[in-house]
Each structure stands twice: as structure tokens, then as C-alpha cells.
């Protein structure tokens, strides 16, 4: 079963036949988590680094932001039986424009916010494909934890 995760959204699953997909990441970042023992995984497509710019919207749409989105992603995976020590974390996205002033470097700020939050919580990234200008999509297969990044040039496993 294919389950599409929209931008500013997330999904978690323990269904071995399910695949979680997200597309057109741009400067947004997709974060996948997977517990191979529990066979539980989740996928987040967050858009902006900090929920502090809009706390009210963050309550209704936690997956919009890195900070609230990561909490929601990990919580959803734990609720299905995943354990923090076993979670493998993979990351894709964070594209940049060819040139812009600092206000448009959302991709970079998203990535830095992600690193900061994961480090603070003692979680490391197992694999990543970030930056540049290429359009990416990400897919997580719940059955075996395989993560692939899709671009026009094809799919690469992460």
C-alpha cells in the first residue's frame, strides 16, 4: 500500500506492506525513521525551521516545522512500538536557489535546525542527501526499512 505524505505532514506505520512516499521536497526536508526490530517507520516532510514564528499554526500543523515536526514524528513511531535506541534516521531535501540573499536560504536553515534538534536529543543521522538544486522525493518501505531518494535521474538507495 502506498501512502503519500503531503508537505507539512507526516505518517507512521507498522504495516509491513506499506510504503510511505513524499515528493517535490525543494527546500523542505524529509526525515525517515525506522526501527528494524519493531518493523515500524515514519516519514516527515517539514517546511520551516522554527515553530516560534507561528505557535498557533504549529499546534494545528506540527509537521510544518522542524522542532514540532520531529517531536510528532518520533512520538508517532514510539506509539507503534519503536524504540529510540533502535531508530535509524535518514534525511533528504534542503535545496537552495542558484543565488539569493540570506532571507531565501530556507534549505540551509532547515538543515541546521534539524541537526541542532537531533544533536540535542542524542540522535544521529545515518544517511543523507541534502543541498544543491535538484528536486527530490523520498520513499520508505515499512517491510524492510529501505529508503530511496528519487530524482529525474532515477532512484538511489540511501
Amino acid at each position: 500500500m502506498l501512502l503519500t505524505v503531503d508537505m507539512a505532514d507526516l505518517a507512521a506505520s507498522a504495516d509491513a506492506t506499506a510504503s510511505l512516499l513524499t515528493f517535490s521536497l525543494g527546500s523542505c526536508i524529509a526525515v525517515s525513521v525506522y526501527d528494524v526490530d519493531a518493523r515500524v517507520g515514519g516519514l516527515l516532510h517539514f517546511m520551516l525551521p522554527e515553530s516560534s514564528i507561528a505557535p498557533a499554526q504549529a499546534r494545528d500543523n506540527p509537521a510544518m516545522f522542524a522542532d514540532t515536526g520531529l517531536v510528532a514524528l518520533f512520538t508517532s513511531a514510539y506509539a507503534l512500538g519503536a524504540e529510540k535506541s533502535r531508530l535509524r534516521v535518514k534525511v533528504a531535501g534542503g535545496s537552495q536557489l542558484l543565488s539569493c540573499d540570506g532571507s531565501f536560504d530556507i534549505g540551509k536553515r532547515n538543515y541546521l535546525a534539524l541537526l541542532r534538534i537531533l544533536r540535542r536529543n542524542g540522535v544521529k543521522i545515518d544517511a543523507e542527501d541534502v543541498g544543491g538544486g535538484v528536486s527530490r522525493g523520498m520513499r520508505l518501505d515499512i517491510g524492510n526499512g529501505a529508503v530511496t531518494v528519487k530524482t529525474r535521474n532515477g532512484e538511489v538507495s540511501l
Binding site: 508537505m7 507539512a8 515528493f23 517535490s24 521536497l25 525543494g26 527546500s27 523542505c28 517546511m47 520551516l48 525551521p49 514564528i53 507561528a54 499554526q57 500543523n61 510544518m64 531535501g93 535545496s95 537552495q96 536557489l97 542558484l98 543565488s99 539569493c100 540573499d101 532571507s103 531565501f104 530556507i106 534549505g107 538544486g133 535538484v134 528536486s135 527530490r136 530524482t151 529525474r152
Partner: protein
Amino acid sequence: VNPTTIASVVDEIDALPRLPESALRIMDALRNPQASMAKIVEAIRFDQSMTTELLRICNSAYYSRSRRIASLQEAIVVLGATNLMRIVLAAHSRTLLAAEQRGYGLPPGALWRHSVAVALAGDKLGEGLPPAQRATLFTAGLLHDVGKILLNERMELNYAAIALRVARERIPFPQAEQEVLGFTHADVGAAIAERWGLPEPIVRCIRYHHQPALARTSDPLLDRVHVADIACLLLGIGGGDDGTHYRADIGALRRVNLPPGGIERLGLETVLALKQVEAAHLATAA
């Protein structure tokens, strides 16, 4: 050597689904600052399917009211004339823009999604402009990428050459389009808008939406379409394989004068508004 000319591309326009007459009438009614409710109703009411769809949207859970809405006049009161126009135009443009554009790596629905997002983002940036200008801005945002529809097949054939240039020379996607095809999706879009007889300010926004500096004089509508488009491309809203291979025009950015954190807020509000539009349309698709 590329034998195609822009004229031969534009001749293919007649094969496109046209913008319905009622859409043109609505745009016309909106550009008139004194547009009365009667005139707006007049523009829609002959379009039976649109009237039905609007009433369904008004009566959907999303806009739920205690009372059933049975007429266009009531619908305008419920949604407000401006909101109603946006829903109508977004719905009209769906027939034109919803198809898959494989050449650009746009799955079904993506170009429509991107176009509506740019219209909504441009509208946010247009707060404070006179209503007639905001209506023009909304339409220009909705149609800015219409040229991609006609270039799609050529893109399928030439994508590899264009992508190679983008990667090797680090040039923006439209510049590589220009070098390989001889024109950009913006040129073709402007030619389509001219052929359809759309007003000059809309044609101009479409033609220069990636290069506002090429327009001889600065134009608040063009600046806003450019910044709205760049923001949506950056965030990947309805994005294709062209990804974020674009350049923001510093002059346009300065003139639009986003406050610090303005791009985040613009992205946030655009995505939330887009989710509303999509929910309203999904509600009527059943």
C-alpha cells in the same frame, strides 16, 4: 539546429482546452473597481456546472453554515465576492492546468497546485494594492506557467540537454530552456495570453516572471508574481524536475520589501491557504 520557432509553437494553442468564456467574463468584471454583485453574478450564472460546483462548495462541511445556500447571491454573501472569484478562477484553471506535464517532471495536478499557490502567495504580497490590481495579480499568478503546457513535449525530448547545461554552467532553468529550445516557457506563456486576448498587464507578468529586470519599467504586479513564484519553487509547492534551479531578482525582492522572516510567513500562509482550496475542491469532486 532547432527548426521550431515560437510562432509554430503558439499555433498549437488552438488544441489546448480554452479558458471558459465565463472565466474571461469574471476577470473582466473583477478588473472593474465598481464591479457590482449583480455583474459578478451575471458573469457566472450562465455557467451551469460552475454554479453547481460553487453551491456545493458553499454547502460543504468546510464552509458549513446552519442554513443551506441555494443561490449565487447567497454564495457571494457567504464566501465574500473576492473569495468566490478565487474559487471560480482556481476551478476554471484546473481543466487547463491539472494534466501531467512529463517533460517538466510534473505529476498530475502538480502544475495546477503550483499555479494556485503562486496566485495565493501573490495575493498575500498584494495586500494594500487596489482591488482591481489584486484581481489582475491573482489571474497572472494563476496563469504564469501556462507556457509549460505547450512546451511539455519538447521538454521530454530536450530535457537531458537542458539539465546538462543547468548542472554544468550553473545557469537558471529558463536560461537553459532559451539556449536549447530558442525560447522559454515564459515567452510561450505570454504568446498564449496574447492569443487569448488577455489584458497587457497579465501578458507582461507572464513574459517576465523569471526576469523582472528585463521589463523596461518596474511593475508592482510583476515583482509580486516573481517573488511569489520563487517562494513556491523554493519550497517545492507543485514543483517539477527543474527543482530550485532559479535565481531571485534582487531588485524585485527589494521593491516587494518583505520584512525579516517574511518569506517563512509567506510560505506558511500560502500552504495553509492552498490546503483550504484543495479541501474545497476535493469536497466537490465526490
